[in-house]
């Protein structure tokens, strides 16, 4: 009964490819996020959506494009993948001023 689920869990791809990560939450939250965790475990926000509307876009290259078809789903599409995009990407959701709940992460490796 996973609250925030992401697919795929692992993604290995070549430079220059385009890939997507999907996220779904069943908590009924209004807000969803994408965070990136680098090799030093530092977590940084990329995007935030509230009720399908983009609220936060933290100077992320425009090769990254989030899409929220409804408030329970937030997908991340990445074009022309680069070596530096290798990281763990976490989806999260929250409601009102409460804490965010995270998915299990997608480990992206670009070779």
């Amino acid at each position: 009964d996973t609250a925030v689920s992401q697919t795929p869990k692992y993604l290995v791809t070549q430079m220059g490819n385009d890939k997507s990560i999907k996220c779904e939450q069943n908590l009924g939250h209004d807000t969803m996020y994408w965070y990136k965790q680098d090799s030093k475990k530092f977590l940084k926000i990329m995007f935030s959506y509230n009720n399908k509307e983009l609220i936060i876009n933290e100077t992320v290259p425009n090769r990254f494009s989030p899409k929220s078809p409804d408030k329970a789903h937030l997908n991340l599409h990445i074009n022309s993948l680069e070596l530096g995009d290798s990281a763990v990407y976490f989806c999260a959701s929250s409601q009102d001023r409460f804490a965010a709940f995270f998915g299990q992460g997608t480990r992206l490796t670009v070779v």
Binding site: K41, F42, K44, S48, N50, E58, F90, R97, A99, R107
Partner: protein, 113 residues
């Protein structure tokens, strides 16, 4: 200067010890304070959430916030090997209800039997 500073450790303690984890922050707008635990290859798991100065206790965990000093702490009593993980402080500004979390670098904790 980073908005949230956290000593990355690593911190190694014997089982049963009291562990103290700390973060400092610089932005007075920060009003909501969280501690997450992250096991290897897993997502961050919420441990504690508070929005006021003072202490909040939950089992073996106590979160402490001192807004005047911009300092937050997490204490773990009677630490267990299963507490071995990375601990992340996260802070959010007030105002909007969907503000981003700003994380510390995380402290790697090992509790050895």
């Amino acid at each position: 200067q980073k908005e949230v500073e956290q000593d990355p450790g690593p911190l190694s303690v014997p089982e049963g010890a009291i562990v103290s984890l700390n973060c400092t922050y610089s932005n007075s707008a920060f009003q909501y304070f969280m501690w997450y635990r992250q096991y290897s290859r897993k997502g961050p798991e919420l441990l504690m959430y508070t929005y006021s100065s003072g202490n909040k206790e939950d089992g073996r965990f106590t979160a402490q916030v001192d807004k005047s000093s911009k300092y937050i702490s997490l204490f773990i009593r009677d630490s267990q090997p299963s507490d071995s993980a990375t601990y992340l402080c996260a802070i959010r500004a007030g105002g909007t209800s969907y503000g981003k979390l700003t994380f510390g670098q995380g402290t790697i904790l090992t509790v050895h039997p």
